[in-house]
Structure formats: structure tokens, C-alpha cells
Symmetry: C2
């Protein structure tokens, strides 16, 4: 009887997003086939790896702002991440990061890294948009395939739970509001940290599924602001679309931790074939 | 009698944002002292120059998505812009762009450039947030100084008109909603285009002025999505803050053209000294 290879079947975020330094500003990583949609790695997962690499390249460890442009989707397997510190400041630094596979750049990102002030408290909150109010246990877990049968491997590992009012699309009953609300939990209930929040803002299905099912909605650009270190536990998620025009859609995503603090915000522009 | 130097006193956007190619992926430009706040060039103005340079470096001419991280504020005067095409695609390309002054990088950006499809029509619109409804002529033009007397040279040239319900901060009567609504017009009524829209999303005062006056609110990161080529005329602007936490604030900005189409959206993270 053979012992399982170390890490085999272990789909915890801390492991699948691991980056290994192999020189100054160079990291090797392995894109896990478990963290894919229709065989392609999730865009937020890729950004989280760039965030981890940026944090290890600078004197500051926490990503405060990250912006990624997606050039061409990599496949599961080995990738190289290269970072360049553009400016090392007292309270924040800026880092460029690139993820390549087979010598081709796949994701290019800019990151502002800082040290989050854990004594800070929110000073002012617009209180909008209204956050999800349905409890975790009252939301149904999303099944790991799309309405067209396409496999979403990542949903077997990541727990996406949608509010009853948000999951109509799974029965062909989209509301037309372009809004999904619910909860997100990492494999094994692993607590979120600033780098896994970079994944969290891209973890939900496209909010356009609540308008009309459109197949693959590839992310073109993703920007994330991390506002605070989250408390342990699943996070509440609100993802909504604002405009579909010229075969592109923008989506905004808000993440609250288990104590109700807004800890991350994302905005993305994605391609969509509708109209 | 001497003729005025060409361009002297000419603060039109098409002139102040001019970039001159000086080699492959290299452009020279001059930051105009007229386009400054307290002596520092506006962040959207800098991004617009990077956008123009990116459009000229690729086979695609229109910026669809731009993300900038601000390293250190340049002064009015000469700057160098360098671009690198990361991927040249059929329908879109990705470009890196850097603005340097005195050999130091000041702004680093990533841009996805495309050719906007002028036959496209909006397919779906969330209809939110409610856009400004007060007519251009019924909005007061903002005066070129802050409540603390700080000079805002750019306001002498760019026309920012605020709705009566949004300009309370100029009289020390902020509403606390963190929202500014109104209109924007370029010097000489010059029509907006995709590159000047990169400026438009950063043209309004910080929405935090409608909460509490905080002096300088420096942009750390700015992301803009250009959704369509705007119709001529002034644009409607909605700028709002969402969360002030850890001495940072995020603001979202929406731009509608004179025909009421949502043509650009911006999101920024800025530093703020409150709380």
C-alpha cells in the first residue's frame, strides 16, 4: 500500500495557491485542475497567486489594490510568476507581476501592497448596496455544473451558497436583476486572508446568469481592493452586473466577513455573447 | 508685437494631453500647469496620456479598460511615456504603459485596447445608480479653489457643474451621502472621446467632500472601463464614495453622454486622512 503523494487531493486554497521562490522576483507555481471552470483556471485564483508573489517581493505583505489584465488563459500545470518592485515606500509599495506559461505571458498585474492596520475601524460606510441577509444555512450550495452541462470543477471544492432569491437561473428562472447574493466558503473552511480575498471577488458565477445564460464569460480585467483582514468564517458575497453593451459586461462584487465588515470589493470587465 | 507661442494659453484637452512619438514605444509629453490641483497634475489626465500612447502603440486604437497605480506625483513639465505591447490580438490587445519624470516612474498602467463597435447598442442596463436629472444650465459651476483655499487650477479650464443638492460642501453643508452629481465639459466644449473619458472619471472633486472636507485625497489606483464612444456635448457625472476605512476610500464614478448612454465607469482607491 502506497501513501498518497503529499498534497494529492488536498484542494485547500493555501496549497493550490502556493508559490515557491526560485530566485529574485521569480516564483514557480502549479495551477490545480480542481480550481477550474470548463478546464480553465479561475481568474481570481490566478490573481491571488500574483498577490502572494507580490507580497513576498516587497517589504509590505498585504495587497491593498490589485489590477489584472488577462491575455490568454493558461491550462492547469506549471507556471512562472515574475515580479518587479516599481517603488518601495514607507507605507505602501507598488509591484508588477506577470504569470507566464510555456514562455507566454497569460496574466499581467499591478499591485499596491501595504501592511493592513488591524486596529483600524470603518469610519464611514455608504451602507449600500444592501448586503445579503439570508443566513448561511438557509442558502443552497451550487452544484458543480452550468445549466448547459459544462463542468465547473472548482464548485466541487469551493462552497458557493446562493440565497433562495438568487438561484433561479439554475432552474431556468433568472430574475433579470443581474444580481447574485450568498455566501462563499473555502475548502476545509480555511479562513480568508487578503490574498484569498483576491480570489473571493471572482468566485461567484457571472451575475449575468441572473439575466440570461451566456456560456463562458471570460474576464478581461479584474480590479480588487482589500479593505481589511477578514474575521474567520465564510464571507457574504454580492455580485452584480451593471451594463451589457458591445459584447462586454461589467460586474461589481462586494465581500463582507462573518462579522459584517466590508473587507473587499472587486470590479471586472468580461466578454459576453448576448444581443 | 510678438505673436503668442503656438499653443500658449490653449488648454484644450486635445493639446494638453498630446503625446509625441520619439521612437518605438516611446512618447514625449508636457504636463500642463493648468491641469493641476494644488500644483499636482490630475490623475485621470495622466491616465488619458497613457491611454493615447497605448492606442498609438497597438493596431487597436480605443482603450476599453485601463488600470493605473500611482507611484509618485509628477510636477508640471516634460515626461516620458514608454509602452510595451504585451499581446496583439484580433479584437483586443494589451499594453503596459509607464509615465516617468526625471528618470523615476510616476504612474504605471495596464490597458486593454480595442476598436469600439459604433453599431453596438446597450443590450441590458441595471438602470442603477440613478443618474443625475438636473439640467446642465440649472447646475452651478464649481469655483477654482477648495474650501480651505487650496488652488484648483484645473477648475479654471474644465467646467464642473454640480447639482444644487450636491454642492453643499462649498458652503460647509455636506449632506453626508458621499455623492456628487452634475456635469462635466471640456475647455472650449471639445467633444469627449475614449481617451478623454479616462480623464472624465477623475475630474470631479472627491465624493468624500460631501461627507467631510479632508484636504488632499491622492489617488492610489484608478480603473476605467470605456463602454462606448460618447456623443458630442457635456457628460453627466455621478461620483460616490462607498467606504472610508484604514485611511483609504473607494469611489465609483459613472459617465453618461449627452444622449444618456453610460459610456464610462471608473473606480478608484484613494488615501484620506479622516478618523
Amino acid at each position: 500500500m502506497t501513501a498518497p503523494a503529499p498534497g494529492a487531493g488536498d484542494t485547500r486554497f493555501s496549497r493550490v495557491a502556493e508559490v515557491t521562490p526560485v530566485g529574485a522576483g521569480r516564483f514557480e507555481a502549479e495551477l490545480d485542475p480542481a480550481w477550474t471552470i470548463a478546464g480553465k483556471p479561475n481568474g481570481g485564483y490566478l490573481l491571488a497567486m500574483l498577490g502572494r508573489s507580490a507580497g513576498r517581493s516587497s517589504r509590505h505583505g498585504d495587497v491593498a489594490a490589485a489590477s489584472a489584465h488577462y491575455l490568454s488563459s493558461p491550462d492547469p500545470g506549471p507556471v512562472l510568476i515574475e515580479t518587479e518592485v516599481l517603488r518601495e515606500g514607507r507605507s505602501a509599495s507598488q509591484v508588477r507581476a506577470r504569470l507566464s506559461q510555456e514562455g507566454r505571458p497569460r496574466v499581467e498585474a499591478l499591485l499596491t501592497v501595504t501592511d493592513l492596520d488591524d486596529s483600524a475601524v470603518p469610519y464611514w460606510d455608504a451602507g449600500l448596496p444592501t448586503r445579503s441577509q439570508v443566513a448561511y444555512g438557509d442558502c443552497d450550495r451550487l452544484v458543480p455544473h452550468l445549466p448547459n452541462g459544462m463542468a465547473v470543477a472548482i464548485m466541487e471544492h469551493v462552497e458557493v451558497r446562493l440565497e433562495p432569491g438568487s438561484n433561479g437561473f439554475t432552474r431556468g428562472e433568472a430574475t433579470g436583476r443581474g444580481e447574485l447574493r450568498g455566501w462563499l466558503n473555502l475548502p476545509g473552511g480555511e479562513p480568508f486572508d487578503p490574498s484569498s480575498l483576491l480570489f473571493a471577488v471572482d468566485a461567484f458565477p457571472p451575475a449575468t446568469f441572473d439575466i440570461e445564460f451566456a456560456g463562458w464569460v471570460p474576464t478581461l480585467e479584474l480590479t480588487v481592493y482589500v479593505r481589511a483582514r477578514p474575521s474567520p468564517g465564510p464571507v457574504r458575497v454580492l455580485q452584480r452586473a451593471r451594463l451589457i453593451d458591445g459584447q462586454r459586461v461589467d460586474e461589481a462584487c462586494f465581500i463582507w466577513d462573518s462579522k459584517g465588515r466590508l473587507v473587499a470589493q472587486g470590479t471586472q470587465l468580461a466578454g459576453i455573447r448576448l444581443g
